[in-house]
Symmetry: C2
C-alpha cells in the first residue's frame, strides 16, 4: 500500500478551530434570530476559502508539501480545517486555477510537479478582455526571448544543448508537416528558456508562448517557407552552444522579426460569421516570404 502522502505532515494549527461550528437542527425554528455562534481569530480575516489558500501555501512554504505530493482527500481535509467541503473546494479551486495543483477525478489532488510553470489561461483571457494585438504579443515575445537567448548562451548546460539539437533535428524531419513542425518549434524555444537558467523568465516566456499557440496553429498551415525558419533555429542553436551571447541575441531578434512578418501575412481574413468582433490584423506589411517562427 503506497499512500503517496504522509497524513501526519498536515499541520492543523491556526485556522482549524477558529470556528465553533454549530450543527443543531436548522429546520425547526427557521424564524429570524439565532445568529450562529462563531469565534473568529482576530488575525484571520474573512473568506474561509482564502484561509484554505493560505494554509496550503504555508504548507508549501514549510516544505510539508512538495511538487508531486498528493493532498489528503477533500472530505478529510475539510474536516481537519473545520470548514465545509464546499468551501475547501473553493479554496482548492483557486490553487488549481493558477496551476499549483491539479485534481484527478477518482484519484486525488496533487501538487503540480515538473518545471515551474504559469498557466497561460489568464493571459489568454486578458488578451480577449483588452484586445491585445498580435503585434503586442510578438513584441513581448521578442523582448523576452532575445534576452533569454543571451542568457542561454552564457548559462546553457550540456543537457540543454542536447535538447536544442534534438529539436532542431526534429524540425528538419517534419518540414512537410506544419502542425508537427510547430510543436518542435515551440519546444525549441521552450528549451532556450530552460537553458537560460532562470526559471522565472522561462515560466513567463512559456506563458506568453502558450497563449499564442492557438493562433499560430491556425496560421502555420499557410506557411510557405519552413526551411528558412529551421535554418534560423540551427543558427541560434550554434551561437548558444558557442557561448556567443550577443550574436545569439541578434539572431533571435532577426528570427522573431521575420516570424512576426510571416504571421501577419499568413493571417487570412476570418471566414466572418462566428468569431467576429475581435480585433486583429493591424499589421500588414506582408513580406513575400513566409516562415514559421
Amino acid at each position: 500500500m503506497k499512500m503517496g502522502y504522509n497524513a501526519s505532515r498536515f499541520v492543523c494549527g491556526a485556522v482549524c478551530r477558529n470556528r465553533v461550528t454549530q450543527a443543531m437542527g436548522r429546520n425547526e425554528n427557521s424564524a429570524i434570530g439565532l445568529r450562529r455562534f462563531r469565534v473568529v481569530r482576530p488575525e484571520e480575516s474573512g473568506l474561509v476559502a482564502e484561509q484554505v489558500v493560505a494554509q496550503i501555501r504555508d504548507m508549501i512554504r514549510q516544505g510539508s508539501l512538495k511538487p508531486g505530493d498528493r493532498l489528503p482527500p477533500e472530505r478529510e481535509l475539510a474536516k481537519r480545517l473545520g470548514i465545509s467541503r464546499a468551501s475547501l473546494r473553493h479554496g482548492l479551486r483557486f490553487l488549481g486555477a493558477i496551476g499549483v495543483l491539479t485534481s484527478r477525478h477518482g484519484s486525488g489532488t496533487y501538487i503540480a510537479d515538473g518545471p515551474p510553470a504559469l498557466d497561460s489561461e489568464p493571459l489568454r483571457i486578458l488578451a480577449d478582455l483588452h484586445q491585445f494585438t498580435p503585434d503586442e504579443m510578438f513584441e513581448a515575445r521578442k523582448l523576452l526571448e532575445v534576452g533569454l537567448a543571451g542568457l542561454a548562451a552564457t548559462n546553457a548546460q550540456p543537457e540543454h544543448l542536447a535538447t536544442l539539437a534534438e529539436e532542431v533535428t526534429e524540425m528538419y524531419a517534419t518540414l512537410d508537416n506544419p502542425q508537427q513542425y510547430l510543436i518542435h518549434d515551440i519546444r525549441f524555444h521552450r528549451a532556450v528558456a530552460a537553458a537560460s537558467g532562470n526559471q522565472i523568465l522561462a515560466a513567463i516566456m512559456n506563458m506568453v508562448s502558450a497563449a499564442m499557440y492557438e493562433s499560430r496553429r491556425a496560421t502555420v498551415e499557410r506557411a510557405t517557407d519552413l526551411k528558412e525558419s529551421v535554418e534560423f533555429h540551427r543558427t541560434i542553436y550554434r551561437l548558444i552552444r558557442a557561448g556567443k551571447s550577443d550574436e545569439a541575441k541578434a539572431a533571435m531578434s532577426r528570427h522573431l522579426e521575420l516570424a512576426q512578418q510571416a504571421f501577419a501575412s499568413e493571417e487570412a481574413p476570418k471566414e466572418n460569421a462566428v468569431s467576429a468582433g475581435r480585433v486583429h490584423h493591424r499589421t500588414r506589411k506582408g513580406p513575400r516570404k513566409s516562415a514559421v517562427n
Copy 2:
C-alpha cells in the same frame, strides 16, 4: 434604477440545456441503481465548471461583457446555464483567481476594470514551491525593465511623462520615509511599464514587481542611501523624455544592478524561528552603499 448590466445580453446557447436535470426524490429508494438521466452534448466534454469559464470567456470575446460590467446574480446565472449554483461558483472562482473578476459580498460580481493586470499570487506561490532566489527575481526584472525602459523612451506619451515626473517628485518628498518612498518607487517603475505602450509586458512586469513587494518592504527599512536611488530615477525619467532609448536602457540596467546589490546587503539573516527553511540570500557581494531599487 441603474442596473449596471443588461440581462438580455447573456446568450444562453450551447451549454444551457445540455443536461436534463432530474429532481425527483432522492431520499426514497436510496439503494443502488437509478443512474441519473443525463444528456451531454458531444462537443461539450467534462467538467461543468470549465463550461462556465468557457461561457464567460466567450461573452468577453464577443464583447457582451466588458471591464467594469456586473454579472447577473449567481442564482439567476446558474439557472440560465442550467447548472447548480455551486458549480457556477466553482467556475467563477477560477476567473476570480486569475483576476478576471471580483465578487463583492452583498453587491455583485464584476468584471475587473482598470489596466490589464496579471495576479501576482501565482508567481509568489511558484516562488515558494520552487524556491526561487532573489537573484533570479532581479534578473527577471532586469531583463524586463531594461527592455521596457527602451520602449518607453520610444513610445511614451505626455501623460506618461507627467506621471513619471510626479513620482520622482514624490520620491524626493519622501526620502525620510522608506515605506512611503518604496510605494512611489514602485509606481515609477509601473509608470515606465505603462509608458512602453505594451500592455502585455506591463502586466507581466507588474506581476513580477508585485511578487517581490513583500521582501522589499521588509528590507527597505534598512536602506541607507535613498538619495542615490532617487537620482537614478530622475536620470531615467529624463532619458525617457528625451527619447534616448539606448541610454535609458543603460541607466535602468545600472540602476537595477545597484538595487540588487543593495537588496542583498540589506537582507539580514532572519530572526530564525518561524519562516526557516526558505532558500535565501545566496548573494553577498555586499557593496558599501545601500540604495532602494
